[in-house]
């Protein structure tokens, strides 16, 4: 089933903005309310919008189940990888080894009220990005599977 042209055009227009807002929530997770899961859920609503607006065959052309599954696994592996990397520096799992180290993500946080810098929280942004990718893939896969479950009823 596909919606009217107005809905499809509206979905096309909104799609990039939803993605960008979701990515913003993911990237700023350590500075503002939000984070990987919330941002990932926002990004996944873009997939939901496409699923609602277009017919099944068009959706499967746009969103690939395998790509979404890969995203889910890669996100999780990146997350655990960030945790395991702490073992390499001789600290326990999940130790924030990047914080205050002066590298790309390792700047220390300036004191007092300030707009906040993206690169100040050590491994936390990396983990947020990983979780964002994973939730994006995971929720989209759930939606796609449910769609393919329902499709058989219609035809």
């Amino acid at each position: 089933m596909r919606m009217s042209k107005i809905v499809r055009t509206g979905a096309n227009l909104l799609y990039p903005f939803i993605l960008i807002f979701g990515l913003y929530v993911i990237m700023h997770g350590h500075l503002t309310p939000g984070g990987g899961f919330q941002g990932g859920a926002v990004v996944a609503t873009a997939a939901a919008l496409v699923i609602v607006a277009y017919s099944y065959d068009e959706v499967t052309g746009m969103l690939k189940k395998t790509a979404m599954k890969a995203r889910e696994s890669i996100g999780l592996l990146l997350f655990i990888g960030a945790g395991i990397a702490a073992l390499a520096v001789g600290a326990p799992f999940f130790y924030n080894f990047l914080a205050n180290s002066g590298l790309l993500f390792g700047m220390s946080v300036p004191a007092g009220p300030n707009p906040g810098d993206l690169n100040t929280a050590g491994v936390i942004p990396i983990m947020n990005i990983a979780v964002g990718i994973e939730v994006w893939g995971g929720l989209a896969v759930i939606l796609l599977y449910m769609l393919s479950g329902i499709r058989k009823e219609e035809s």
């Binding site: 500075l31 984070g35 899961f37 009220p113 929720l139 759930i142 449910m146 479950g149 329902i150």
Partner: protein, 114 residues
């Protein structure tokens, strides 16, 4: 006693949810009861973290270091994430049951007993 309002809401939601889970015959409605129960528990957790005059635990926005402990928020978020997975799994079970049995009335989903 104004500060008790969230807890009263928790109790009301819990009773509604349990009533739905026990009395409704439609599988989807039972799942909605579970989701409402989850919301009640989440509301309970989040209301534990409320402190009057507390400041959101966002380091760069807070005027001083006196901030609310973010643990209840973290718990609620984790519980929401688990809730998403739970509802997804429950709904996919409902899809399969609908396909195989042709009904989602819990009185008629009784093939195990035969």
């Amino acid at each position: 006693m104004f500060w008790n309002l969230p807890l009263i809401a928790v109790v009301v939601l819990t009773i509604i949810a349990l009533a739905i889970i026990v009395f409704k015959k439609n599988l989807i409605k039972v799942f909605l009861g579970i989701v409402i129960l989850e919301s009640a528990v989440n509301l309970f957790l989040i209301s534990l973290g409320y402190r009057e005059g507390g400041i959101a635990p966002i380091y760069t926005n807070a005027p001083s270091t006196a901030m609310v402990l973010p643990t209840p928020q973290a718990l609620t978020l984790t519980s929401i994430v688990i809730g998403v997975a739970t509802s997804a799994l429950l709904l996919s079970f409902a899809i399969i049951i609908w396909k195989k049995y042709g009904t989602i009335d819990i009185d008629r989903i009784r093939r195990l007993k035969e």
